[in-house]
Symmetry: C2
Subunit: 335 residues, 2 copies
């Protein structure tokens, strides 16, 4: 069952929970806030409902709550950082902040981060850039959870990517997308309802394309968007992240999702505003043109980030939806 | 019918053809070479076979053979250029060269180009970066030739993207992919053979998802890879290109493919080598891991760019395949 919790209470509770896990001061505050904001923005899979899994990675020693990401090399606007397996969302936020600092100085900036941990919600760092007026891009590699085109078993990661552009009204356009057609979470939803998704969704254990959510989950074998095309995108996102960061590529990461750690990531910020030109009008015009298209079966185009703005407003007004059991566990931990 | 023409003769003939169109000196040489190399590398749709269409854009005045791209604004490693509707492949090559120059100075560099023309083969500028030892990324927007998820009619471009990483052995990994599941050229091939493609391929005139290549062509309505996911990617590639370049976005471009002109593009180069670390080993290891995966129905994984290396070698050895009629037209023009 789901209940709604006031945003302030949710954030405060998550911050206390982070303190219980051993995070300190502003790091506990920032980590708790990232989880709370993710839930507030409607990305329920990667916010408070994922806290138990995050807690598990801390308790297993995959995430080192006392560690901090640090710069290890750099040339001008390009830096390489190492994550020391600190909490992945904190390091990601720090690297995007540094990329924006570099962009403020050089016009654009890039930080590549190795040996980090799951950054939770890709979009967090896109919103971070857009809120500060930058165009932002970031991507991460992931464990091998998709079958590359031509293979029979999994061998590439779904490698989530965020791209964000700012708008004056705060309704930034923020894409947060993995290279898989469906996430395992969405497939689990279909399985729970006894349904199949409407499009090819992954591979079964025999290496055949499948829409059976249970078979796909058992094989941990997602389908790249566009078959061969998403395969190529996933390979290049992995390569660029691993090469820029001198970090691990997908085939160097553990296969077990519960052991996922050590990823490579890239954060890029562009100071488009510094070049002048009415760039925010361009974004508004594109959104307007998309919304003016005749509606198809899906009921009109939704631009990336549109749903976030709507759910954020709704959840701040009505309270943030949380799985009741998760909330009880949190209260117990922080009592 | 196809014939094979020696590479040197093909390039020399194309250079003369460019001179006949009014390009001068090194610009004719470079433009002809880009067309010849594209065919040599097996991208037959965007090389010499496309010359008549390129010639048409020159004769219609969409492409100004006397114009040159020029810098209009900049901040450190980020520059904005305007294409003045010069030949798109020349301007693209110049902008990637400038992005690499900026990367040599600042670690990474970006040039955003507005008011340009079709760059022909996206991969050309990826190979250019990788050959020079840089990690390269570039993308362009395009006319509205895909239906965004939720709409009934076309409204986003297929917005081709190239991503490239260098390898010591010259077999660089270079992705060259549009955001559409199939190109109109590939669909035309299915139509000519009286076949349907094996996956969803576009929309018909009633806004229904279709695999009928003729219906899709008639509606000029391609399918984004991954349905909603490729829609999001296409929107963000368009927005970032238009905003960074202060140029046109897809909805500002003409709808008629024969009138396509005025696109916005982005070129980014990363000097990963400057940060040290054995990054080329990473690329070799990723390729090895992909090739070691058990073969599925497709007969094993082909990494992006693998086919180019194979066809390049074959075409240099046996001669470059050209549609005979195209070759005769070229000889006639350059006689």
């Amino acid at each position: 069952m789901e209940i709604r919790v006031g945003y302030a209470e949710l954030e405060a509770t998550l911050v206390r929970a982070m303190e219980r896990l051993g995070l300190e001061g502003e790091r506990a505050a920032r980590c708790g806030r990232l989880f709370a904001e993710t839930t507030r923005d409607g990305v329920y899979s990667h916010g408070v409902n994922r806290f138990p899994r995050f807690r598990g990675t801390v308790e297993m020693g995959l995430v080192d709550v006392k560690a901090k990401a640090a710069r290890v090399a750099g040339k001008g606007a390009l830096e390489r950082w190492t994550g020391h397996r600190a909490p992945g969302n904190l390091s990601a936020q720090e690297c995007m902040a540094r990329a924006m600092e570099l962009a403020g100085e050089h016009g654009l900036g890039c930080v590549a981060l190795n040996d980090t941990n799951h950054w939770m919600r890709a979009g967090s760092y896109g919103w971070q850039a857009a809120e500060a007026g930058f165009i932002g891009m970031c991507w991460t590699n992931a464990i091998a959870n998709m079958v590359p085109w031509g293979a029979k078993t999994r061998g590439v990661g779904n490698n989530p990517l965020a791209m964000a552009v700012p708008r004056a009204n705060g309704a930034h356009v923020v894409l947060d997308t993995a290279m898989s057609q469906y996430s395992f979470g969405v497939l689990a939803g279909y399985a729970a309802r006894g349904e199949e998704p409407p499009h090819d969704a992954g591979y079964d254990a025999e290496g055949r394309i499948s829409r059976d959510p249970k078979a796909i989950d058992a094989a941990q074998a997602g389908l790249p968007i566009g078959y061969w095309k998403g395969t190529g995108l996933a390979i290049l996102l992995d390569l660029t992240a691993a090469m820029l960061s001198a970090g691990r590529s997908t085939h160097d990461l553990p296969l077990d999702p519960m052991q996922e750690s050590g990823q490579s990531q890239v954060f890029v910020a562009f100071d488009a505003a510094a070049l002048g030109g009415d760039t925010e009008r361009i974004a508004d015009d594109v959104v307007r043109a998309l919304k003016a298209l005749p509606e198809g079966e899906g009921g009109g185009v939704r631009y990336p980030g549109e749903k976030v703005v709507r759910l954020r407003e709704e959840n701040l007004r009505l309270g943030v939806p949380v799985v009741e059991e998760r909330w009880r566990e949190l209260l117990e931990l922080t009592r």
